[in-house]
Amino acid sequence: MTTSPPSSGSSPLPAELRARILAAASASPVPSRAVGRRRQAVALAAGFAVPVALSLYLGGPTFRARPVPYVVALAVAWLGVALAATLGGVTRGRSMLGRPAFVHFLVAAVTPVALLATALLTSTAWPETQDDHPVAAAHAICVAVTLVCALGPLGAFAVLRRHSDPVAPRLTGAAIGAASGGWGAVVIELHCTHASTVHVLLGHVLPVVLLTLIGVLVGDRVVALRGAA
């Protein structure tokens, strides 16, 4: 397909418009990229400080009641899922418009599935972990801890992508939510003493789905680029 001339070039711009826009830009100075990067780093550090602080408050990783190799293997697998989700859902690659919408959709849809699938695969190597039958309260506690742990990264990611998506902000938000949920899942995996599939599904993966839905709202309210009313 050929590219035709931009006929827009034939529409002369009002002479004073340039001066008006440049004056408006000068009137509201924005820091350079170097300063922006420092602020982004601070936002990220603050966001990830939440799960780290909570993890320390809970006494650090727990290895009792579950085989240590199981905990390590699953934590490493979920760390990979969280990293991949962050790479695909939060970072923008080399485009100011971010990654394509279908990538964000994949991140939002696949992250919870990948977490559950890796948990199932890992449990096949340690079948004794399925003998565990936690009560409903245990599920609820894990949901709450995962949500709280993920809120920090979610906030940091939202700051990073604030008002940056003019194309599909809800999908971007969903991907951000899924990525932050991935980080919350990593933390809960290091602390939870239960390993049954039902518990992993309800206590660890369900909150990731919830965070993905929360992310849709964040995308609509925070990530979306909006014009002046």
Binding site: S7, P12, P31, R33, G93, S95, M96, L97
Partner: protein, 218 residues
């Protein structure tokens, strides 16, 4: 707001462009230097305040043309252009090195346009579908009349198309974006944009063929 200088609607040129598009022919006019806009934005992000003027010079005419065609209101187009460029200005600190500026700018402009429409701020088109001022009376009257007839038909066909097809066609043929850039602006794949634009071409080709046939008979 200061009154804008009269702008040439140039129906003849617009129709020729559409006809060439519908016939699947390219044109020989070169596309503006996009890399300059990228470099200027890069310098602006790095701290060179003066480069924003270059960004404006590289992008504003194309964006303004796009917005003017969409809104058909000078004041609205100017307002949206200002908003678009100020959004880019505010994103200075987060500009990604090596990123393309043109699709980003068009995506912002399109979003602001869509938001404006959703808020019910879309201005009513003038009855003949042309701009509210600044008509070009240069060409011969019958040529202008014929061109306007074609332009009206083209606009009618475009208006009947699904929004996705119309948007893809306009971004590629009117605004000079590449298929890849249009895909970025619309948030879809290159293949989808190609398909949408192709369907728009086919619809236009069919409609303009009918108009030509009627003109030949008369």
């Amino acid at each position: 707001m200061v009154a804008a200088a009269p702008t040439a609607f140039a129906p003849v040129g617009a129709v020729r462009s559409f006809v060439a598009a519908a016939a699947g022919r390219g044109t020989s006019v070169s596309v503006p230097p996009r890399a300059e806009a990228d470099v200027a934005m890069e310098r602006y992000a790095a701290g060179d305040d003066a480069s924003f003027g270059v960004v404006y010079d590289m992008l504003a005419p194309r964006l303004y043309g796009y917005l003017l065609r969409q809104t058909r209101q000078r004041a609205r187009a100017e307002d949206l252009l200002q908003q678009t460029l100020l959004h880019m200005h505010r994103a200075r600190a987060s500009f990604i090195p090596g990123a393309e500026v043109t699709p980003w700018a068009f995506a912002i402009a399109r979003r602001l346009l869509v938001d404006g429409i959703r808020r019910g701020k879309r201005e009513v088109l003038s009855e003949d579908g042309e701009l509210d001022a600044g008509r070009d009376h240069g060409p011969m009257a019958d040529e202008v009349a014929q061109a306007r007839e074609l332009a009206t038909e083209v606009q009618r066909v475009l208006a009947r198309l699904p929004h996705s097809q119309r948007a893809a066609f306009e971004l590629i043929k009117n605004e000079g974006l590449s298929v890849a850039e249009a895909a970025q602006v619309l948030g879809t794949t290159v293949a989808a944009v190609k398909l949408r634009a192709h369907r728009a071409y086919e619809a236009l080709r069919g409609a303009l063929g009918d108009v030509s046939a009627e003109g030949t008979k008369s």
